[in-house]
């Protein structure tokens, strides 16, 4: 009898998931433990492995919501007759599999789908008294605000962000851009050993790694430019999962045995997502001041950098990134500004910032991914980071190393390049 492959429940409050990509094709033979498909929930991405060996048939459609516990494929033993494909999800509608009990041995998720949780729409909006008071003063509907506090609670900063950003969005709205297609830009530096894959932060590009590379002599390096950054195509990125999907595609296409993944800020979050979904491919993870571990981020600085149309208006924002402001020399500012001379790039990045950090808040959450991280990992952070609070690092489980530096800001790879280089070298 064929063995059912189901949409697993991987998150406490998960009711459905969607398959982002299949690693196998109809009729492929798989061994137990082989990766079958990637799923994405509203919180994180997962790789699902085969619970059994066999030939895969009746693959469910990708990019479609599928209720947990539903069959998404069937594994047939050698010689078994392949049955009716309607047993798996081919569209958003979820049909019942023909065989109701295909296999008693099949590993089932422990829990049936949870009873419907109260939907946020019908619940009263969670908001702090101060947020309510600010909203009243600002003439805002509290229910219309996105809460970044625990359980979605609207806090004062959420209201302030909305108030602060409302006029900006209107006046400083960047010019539109025409989305490109194509693969992300990859640049390489030949060298020894398992390569390092470097993922820069928001508003940066592959050149940001240059100072650090001096401390990584002899290592094979691969830099990825994020969408709408550096030499990569300008794309409409609807949210963090879409961003990760693009980077994952690029990473998969590298076809590496393994890589040490290093990411900074937003790139740190992407690196963490990669490590989460490609644990076997990621030899180690190094996240520098990573995003994704809490709601706070300096929305004003993000906006300021996005909107700067000349070096003079960029420099003050760049200075907020570091502790020792003398690091932000005129030359540095000019180099940093050079690519930003392109209004389309600025517009694409502003649109991306709006999707990833609406109202100056980190709209994605990788805290669960951090908790279940299995690859060797370390977080490097400056305790005077003004962009993202370094305390986010404190949520890391014990097996993740923390390297916290006293008088360092958001750019450890620039501010304490040698230290970061040493940490990387020692763990490669």
């Amino acid at each position: 009898m064929p063995v059912e492959v189901i949409m697993p429940k991987v998150d406490m409050d998960m009711a459905k998931g969607r398959i982002m990509a299949w690693h196998v094709a109809e009729g492929d033979t798989v061994a137990k433990g082989d990766p079958l498909f990637d799923i994405e929930t509203d919180k994180a991405a997962f790789e699902v492995e085969a619970s059994d060996a066999g030939t895969v048939h009746h693959l469910a459609a990708t990019e479609t919501d599928i209720a947990i516990g539903t069959a998404v494929a069937w594994l047939y033993a050698e010689g078994e007759t392949v049955g009716d494909p309607s047993a798996t999800v081919q569209s958003a509608a979820v049909p019942e599999p023909e065989e109701r009990e295909p296999s008693v041995e099949a590993e089932k998720p422990a829990e049936p789908p949870a009873p419907a949780a109260p939907t946020p729409d019908t619940e009263k909006t969670r908001a702090t008294p101060r947020a309510r008071a600010l909203a009243r003063e600002g003439g805002l509907e509290i229910a219309a605000l996105a809460g970044t506090g625990p359980r979605g609670r609207v806090q004062a900063e959420d209201v302030r962000a909305t108030i602060d950003h409302a006029p900006n969005a209107a006046t400083a709205a960047p010019t539109s851009f025409v989305p490109d297609t194509g693969a992300l830009a990859i640049t390489r530096k030949e060298g020894e050993g398992t390569p390092l894959v470097l993922i820069h932060g928001f508003a940066g590009d592959a050149t940001a790694w240059a100072p650090l590379e001096a401390h990584l002599k002899g290592r094979a390096l691969i830099r990825i430019d994020l969408p709408s950054h550096g030499k990569s195509p300008k794309q409409r990125i609807g949210g963090f999962p879409a961003l990760v999907k693009e980077v994952r595609h690029a990473f998969d296409a590298l076809n590496l045995e393994q890589a040490h993944v290093v990411g900074h800020s937003l790139g740190g979050a992407v690196a963490l997502a990669l490590a989460d979904t490609r644990p076997r491919k990621v030899a180690s993870l190094t996240a520098l001041a990573p995003a994704g571990l809490g709601p706070q981020i300096d929305g004003a600085a993000l906006g300021g950098i996005c909107n700067a149309t000349r070096p003079e208006s960029l420099a003050p924002w760049l200075r907020t990134l570091v502790v020792d402001e003398t690091l932000i020399t005129d030359a540095y500012t000019r180099i940093a500004f050079a690519p930003r001379n392109d209004p389309a790039l600025r517009a694409a990045q502003a649109a991306m910032a709006d999707a990833l950090f609406p109202d100056g808040v980190q709209a994605f959450d990788l805290r669960a991914a951090l908790q279940r991280l299995e690859v060797p990992a370390r977080i490097i952070w400056g305790k005077r980071d003004r962009i993202i609070p370094w305390q986010h690092a404190l949520q890391a489980p014990g097996r993740v190393s923390l390297h916290l530096f006293e008088d360092v800001g958001h750019l450890p790879q620039i501010e304490i390049t040698a230290e970061v280089g040493k940490i990387l070298q020692s763990s490669l």
Partner: protein, 336 residues
């Protein structure tokens, strides 16, 4: 008194500061008498009265029999009829033996008698855990007495306030209960010389900050201050308020701080449920400062059990610096 005399300040221990206050009172006011168990030649269980008996004699520094109810009642009766007794309970726990006189008599006499009599008695209660004295010698019962209209209840946290609040209590026409923390007796700090008072009912802002308000009482003020230093290194700017007075409570100082920071953490050693922090929290929640709250109020108080003997257990049942740090970080980063 020489009001114009320049006030000098010396380092005194909390116990020495209390003794100095009593010394000043005994030397300037014939009506003042000290009463308590073993406060004479023994010097008091915590050596607070020390050698005052040698200076003022046994008629004014009176050893009482081990009769807490009777002793407290004598102090009440004496206060009603012209004396200014300072009654020392050997341990605050023993006040349970005298609750009748404290709660039914001292607190209510003035009201019951239509205001015709005042009871200017001062009672001192060595309180709190940390000495390994276990369940019947380590309690923090200030909330018990704070619950009784007619009493005033204070908790000095520094030597300066220990002296100032005792001198203020002696000037007060109504019964004042002073909860002294046993662990603080040896703590040193600057104490102005001569006579001065620390007003009853007035909190002290020990550290200004903008990110959250920590309201502490007694020894917890010191723990909150230690936590605030660490928090500052992490970029969290905590305001620390020393409540000082449980009844009357300084509403304005607490509310003003909460209006500023939007976050409130109450830290007290007494049992958490129905404790001092419950009152502080309720006071804020019922006030206009409610509209300024940007996170739930958090209370750290004693565990729901008697104070245990084992030193590790004893530490575990009252808030410690790491507990304050943890709660403050969560509050300040919006994690609660």
């Amino acid at each position: 008194m020489n009001a114009e005399t320049k006030i000098e300040s010396r380092e005194l221990s909390y116990a020495e500061a209390i003794r100095e206050a009593m010394d000043i009172a005994l030397s300037t006011d014939e009506r003042v008498v000290l009463m308590g168990e073993d406060i004479g030649v023994y010097g008091g269980a915590f050596q607070v009265t020390g050698d005052l008996v040698e200076k003022y004699g046994e008629d004014r520094v009176m050893d009482t029999p081990i009769s807490e109810l009777g002793g407290a009642g004598v102090a009440v009766g004496a206060a009603m009829t012209g004396l200014r007794p300072i009654f020392e309970f050997q341990f605050s726990d023993f006040a349970t033996l005298a609750m009748e006189q404290i709660v039914n008599q001292a607190a209510k006499v003035r009201y019951m008698l239509g205001g015709s009599v005042s009871v200017p008695v001062v009672m001192r209660f060595p309180a709190g855990s940390g000495t390994g004295a276990a369940a019947q010698h380590s309690q923090s019962l200030e909330a018990w007495l704070g619950h009784v209209p007619g009493l005033k209840v204070v908790q000095p946290s520094t030597p300066e306030d220990a002296k100032g609040l005792l001198l203020a209590a002696l000037e007060d026409p109504d019964p004042v209960m002073i909860f002294e923390h046993k662990i603080l007796y040896k703590m040193k700090g600057p104490v102005p010389a001569g006579h001065y008072i620390t007003p009853i009912g007035k909190a002290a802002i020990r550290r200004e900050g903008k990110d959250l308000t920590i309201v502490g009482t007694s020894i917890m003020v010191h723990k909150a201050m230690a936590a605030a230093e660490t928090l500052a290194e992490e970029g969290i700017d905590a305001e620390v308020i020393d409540l000082r007075s449980v009844r009357p409570m300084d509403r304005e100082t607490v509310l003003a701080s909460v209006r500023k920071t939007g976050r409130l953490l109450c830290v007290y050693e007494g049992v958490k449920t129905l404790g001092v922090g419950a009152e502080v929290s309720a006071m804020v929640a019922e006030s206009d400062a409610f509209d300024f709250l940007d996170a739930p109020i958090v209370r750290l108080g004693g565990a729901e059990c008697p104070i245990p003997y084992n030193p590790e257990l004893e530490k575990a049942v009252v808030p410690q610096v790491p507990d304050i740090l943890d709660a403050a970080r969560k509050l300040a980063t919006g994690a609660i």
